[in-house]
Amino acid sequence: MKQLLIFACSILLFSCQKVIDIKPKDGEVKVIIQGYLYTDSIIKVRIAKSTNYLSPISPPGLGTAVITLSDNHGNSEVLTWNPVNKIYKGNALLGVVNDTYTLKVEFEGKTYVASSLLPYLEHADTIKIIKKPKTTIQDEKYEMKLYATISTSTDFYYLFKGYADNRFLNGPNDIYYADNKNLNGNLNGIDIGYDEYKVGEVAKLELYSLTEAAYKFYDAASLQLNNDGGFFSTPPANVPSMFDKGAIGLFQCSDIQVLTTTVLAQ
């Protein structure tokens, strides 16, 4: 609903846009940390530094850190730098649902720490691709619908990633995420946002469980990517880091479910 309200307010506002040449004053370069740990998988971590906002290339992964992953059972391991992918990888420690993990990053004289639970994911029933007839404002579309029965007594948070024949469908400003607040539990064909399928393609949806902290990270990121400068909506700001000491970072521990189906003519 929040997005809908912002959209409603922005209808008039966004009628006139123009790229302009301005140069905000430079500020402090930030350490950027991304860590992903999924069920039954090893961890992957990328360390980088922020660059100019208009930079056409992503800042490279840096291999001068010492990174340690530990769990709440006393297990720990030092991650290994992979110079090809420019990321750090775990060796043996796999993600387990409901375990808590701590990621320690020693980099350029500072130590950054984040902890996260790997939350359980309630599995969805299925996905379907439904033909949406042509209307005045949009062409005929095949869109993904999700069917699930979920509990609403406990707060759950989700991240979605959609694919068509393994082609990632999220645009550069699209993050699809949700929580179970205000839901009755019967998700009888909800629209996630993927509606560019063609007949014959294999549609895939990856569902990730999120902690509340990771959900807030994605929520703030989405606000940044789709903001109106704070005129009608909450002003964009730095995303809430899951790491301490000024590093900007995401430590996402997720349980995963993958659903697939083939798009049929309708």
Partner: protein, 779 residues
């Protein structure tokens, strides 16, 4: 409490006892030739030292010492009348004024003495009448008194086509907007492009930036007192206008031999009516319109009793096919009974009702829902006016306001919906006030206007207060306390002193000093720069402490060339306590624990305002320039360092002019310049997954480019014909005439272009230039 009032009263009155002299009351009535009372006519003695305005019934009372005087009566559009009188007893005298079209065309009288800006103790207040602005350029041809209020010194704007008021460093929710005494909680149509005030129904609007009269309270920064017109003077007349966005129609007249008058005015936009011409049924389903209705009835029961009832009702409606719909609107009602106890004591008893509501819905599919929020207020107020002598004019009284705050209800709107209901509990409050003030003339040169307002605010149950282990923004909820219906959750008291002193330097100039303290007990939950229709209000509570401001101001006022030119310089300093701001990425919608999203701290603002107004002649208008600073410093935000408020602008210049080229043709122009406002804009970037995020510096640290625009208008009256009642005029207006050369960004956003993938800074701005044409008529 009784003793406190007694002490105040004795203080106010006492200073006069020692110098009491033999005085008499000169009373009477001012009517036009049809017998209708003229409201706001100025009755003054010839040396200008004493003057009063006629009230809603055309009655006036003027205490004078024994002696011979010449009384002069002035009223806009009427010939000046004068009579010589001898005062050696109470005197009753009546005036009948004749219409004078020549004067009406040449002189603008605002119902006040022409040198009132110099002689009165008022500071920081300016009145604009619709007559002054009707030939000025108007966006989409809709004359909008709020847009003109925005050109006054000390008032900042958020951007093109926005009706929000930011007065002397205050936020948009810190303005008490009254329509015939009833508060309005959202004064905007079309997301703020227009205000709710239909110019045909409005008489005037007066903005108080300081020294708000003690009978009013509850907002920190300003009061905008909008007065609806009264019907008449003819038995029946109509006026209206047909524009490119909306059309208007006003019917007015008198009844029962002029004892009563009525006015009804309506306006509706009609963009959606053009959609009905589409062959596509989906497009025909779209709705996009606003409308408003104003009505006012005045009735004089007898010499001592009169009543007016006034009402406003307006709505905005948007519906986009079967996708979603939203709407919002205000409704107000005022009943004001005026009673005269004696020559020296009057009473106004005022009941007001005001409500604002917002709704949003999706009616189809499994994601169908309805959302609604709003606020309702009922108030009763009694204001006594006591004029014991020419040296004192005392107001005192009481008021009570009861409010219901609906923060939001979310529910499924069809049986297949995936949603469940979620109602954020309503809040309730009861606010009371006792007030007293006195305008006291200490000598021929020195006058004071001082007063006190004692507020009591109760945050009432039913309600739930959450308790935290520490600061709600970064601690956990321990438990909650549940309060029953009508149980008091919090009680806050506030004493608001105000004083203004005026010293007459000579017959053309004066110096004034002022101080006032104000409290605000209701808070708009809004984290955007400009208020949006779904912003909700919340009462002061355990976490939202009452906001308060102290304002100190000083000014020099000088009129030139027989009050043709009005000039002033005012300086102010304001400091706010319990100022509210929101954490980064605050989540406010349907959040029952809003306190987890806010920090409380201090704010301050200061500045200087320069004003030059030309009131007579072919060329009229004003120039205003404001130099100002607005800061906030709030622990938990911006690392506790001070930062600019989002509406801070260093320089603000407005040049408004109306030039009467001939009897039938008037040229209008408006030039606006302002320093860009501060926003947050990322300097750095980084990639997470496949998306590019920004590194933001300190809050509001990037300054938008300067804002400027020029608007022009031409008003051509149709030739008048003998015996023809119909009068028409064409208004042609161009808003932001060179907008194609210079854009005025509302804001700048950093984004990744979804097509090219490039990162860019994008200015978002209002389209320009915007031409418009309107036909106005009356008969």
């Amino acid at each position: 409490m009784k003793s406190l009032i007694y002490i105040c009263f004795v203080f106010f009155i006492g200073a006069n006892f020692a110098q009491a002299q033999k005085e008499y009351i000169v009373s009477g009535k001012v009517n036009d030739t049809t017998g209708l009372p003229l409201i706001g006519a100025i009755i003054r003695i010839s040396d200008g030292s004493v003057g009063v305005a006629s009230d809603e019934d055309g009655d006036f009372k003027m205490p004078l010492k024994e002696g011979d005087y010449t009384l002069i009566v002035e009223y806009f559009g009427y010939k000046v009348e004068q009579k010589d009188i001898r005062v050696n007893n109470n005197v009753s005298i009546s005036f009948i004024l004749e219409e004078d079209s020549q004067i009406a065309n040449e002189v603008v009288i605002t119902g006040k003495a022409p040198d009132e800006n110099v002689t009165s103790t008022k500071m920081g207040s300016t009145e604009i009448t619709v007559d002054e602005i009707k030939t000025l350029p108007a966006l989409f041809g809709e004359v909008d008194i709020v847009k003109n209020i925005q050109t006054l010194p000390g008032v900042q704007v958020a951007g093109d086509g926005n009706t929000g008021l930011y007065v002397r460093g205050g936020g948009a929710d810190q303005n008490l907007i009254l329509v015939d005494e009833a508060p309005v909680y959202n004064a905007s149509h079309l997301f703020g492009i227009f205000s709710i005030f239909n110019a045909d129904a409005i008489q005037s609007a007066e903005l108080y930036k300081a020294g708000i009269p003690s009978q009013y309270g509850g907002r920190l920064s300003s009061m905008l007192d909008v007065r609806l017109r009264e019907g008449g003077p003819k038995k029946f007349s109509a006026k209206g206008g047909i524009g490119i966005i909306a059309s208007r129609l006003t019917l007015e007249g008198t009844f029962n031999q002029g004892k009563g008058s009525y006015i009804f005015s309506g306006r509706r936009s009609y963009a959606d009516l053009f959609l009905l011409l589409s062959s596509d049924p989906e497009i025909r389903k779209n709705k996009l319109y606003f409308y408003d209705l104003n009505g006012k009835i005045n009735y004089q029961f007898n010499k001592n009793n009169s009543l007016y009832i006034s009402s406003y009702y307006g709505k905005d409606k948007f519906k986009f096919g079967g996708l979603f719909g939203l709407g919002w609107g205000n409704a107000t009602f005022t009943a004001n009974w005026n009673h005269l106890f004696s020559d020296k004591l009057f009473l106004n008893t005022i009941y007001t009702h005001s409500e604002y509501s917002f709704d949003l819905s999706i009616s189809q599919g499994v994601q169908a829902f309805r959302f609604g929020s709003g606020i309702k207020e009922n108030s009763v107020k009694q204001v006594y006016q006591y004029v014991p002598s020419i040296r004192h004019h005392i107001h005192f009284g009481w008021s009570v306001s009861q409010r219901l705050y609906d923060p939001g209800k979310f529910e499924p709107s069809n049986p297949n919906s995936i949603f469940s209901s979620n109602k954020i509990p309503n809040n309730h409050s009861l606010e009371g006030a006792l007030f007293v003030s006195n305008k006291q003339k200490l000598s021929e040169k020195l006058s004071l206007d001082y007063g006190l307002r004692l507020n009591m605010f109760n945050n009432m149950g039913a309600g739930t207060v959450y308790n935290y282990s520490g600061d709600p923004t970064n601690s956990t909820t321990i438990d909650s306390t549940v309060y029953k219906k009508n149980q008091i959750i919090n009680t806050f008291w506030g004493l608001e002193p105000r004083i203004a002193a005026r010293y007459i330097v000579n017959d053309k100039s004066s110096v004034k000093l002022g101080y006032n303290r104000n409290y605000q007990y209701i808070h708009q939950i809004s984290n955007s720069l400009t208020p949006v229709p779904f912003d909700v209000w919340t009462p002061s509570n355990n976490y939202f402490k009452p906001e308060a401001v102290n304002q100190y101001s000083a000014g020099y006022y000088r009129n030139l060339k027989d009050n043709t030119y009005e000039t002033s310089v005012e300086g102010y300093y304001k400091n706010y306590s319990n100022s509210i701001d929101y954490i980064d990425n605050a989540s406010l919608l349907l959040n029952p624990q809003i306190e987890t999203q806010v920090h409380i701290g201090k704010a301050w603002s200061y500045g200087a305002e320069f004003y030059l107004k030309k009131k007579k002649g072919r060329l009229t208008g004003w120039i205003s320039y404001t130099l100002s600073w607005s800061y906030k410093k709030i622990d938990g935000i911006n690392d506790g360092k001070k930062y600019f408020a989002g509406y801070d602008r260093r320089h603000s210049l407005n040049v408004i002019a109306s030039y009467k080229i001939s009897e039938r043709v008037t040229f209008g122009g408006q030039f606006v310049f302002g320093t860009g406002r501060p926003i947050g804009l990322p300097y750095g970037g980084y990639q997470i997954d496949n998306f590019w995020l920004g590194v933001y510096p300190e809050r509001n640290s990037f300054r938008l480019p300067s804002y400027h625009r020029l608007d022009l208008s031409l008003t051509i009256d149709q030739r008048k014909k003998e015996g023809r009642r119909w009068e028409g005029s064409w208004s042609i207006s161009i808003y932001n005439i060179y907008g194609f050369l210079h854009i005025n960004p509302w804001t700048v956003v950093a984004q990744t272009n979804k097509d090219s993938g490039q990162k860019e800074y994008v200015a978002i701005y209002f389209p320009a230039p915007i031409p418009s044409i309107t036909y106005n008529f009356k008969f």
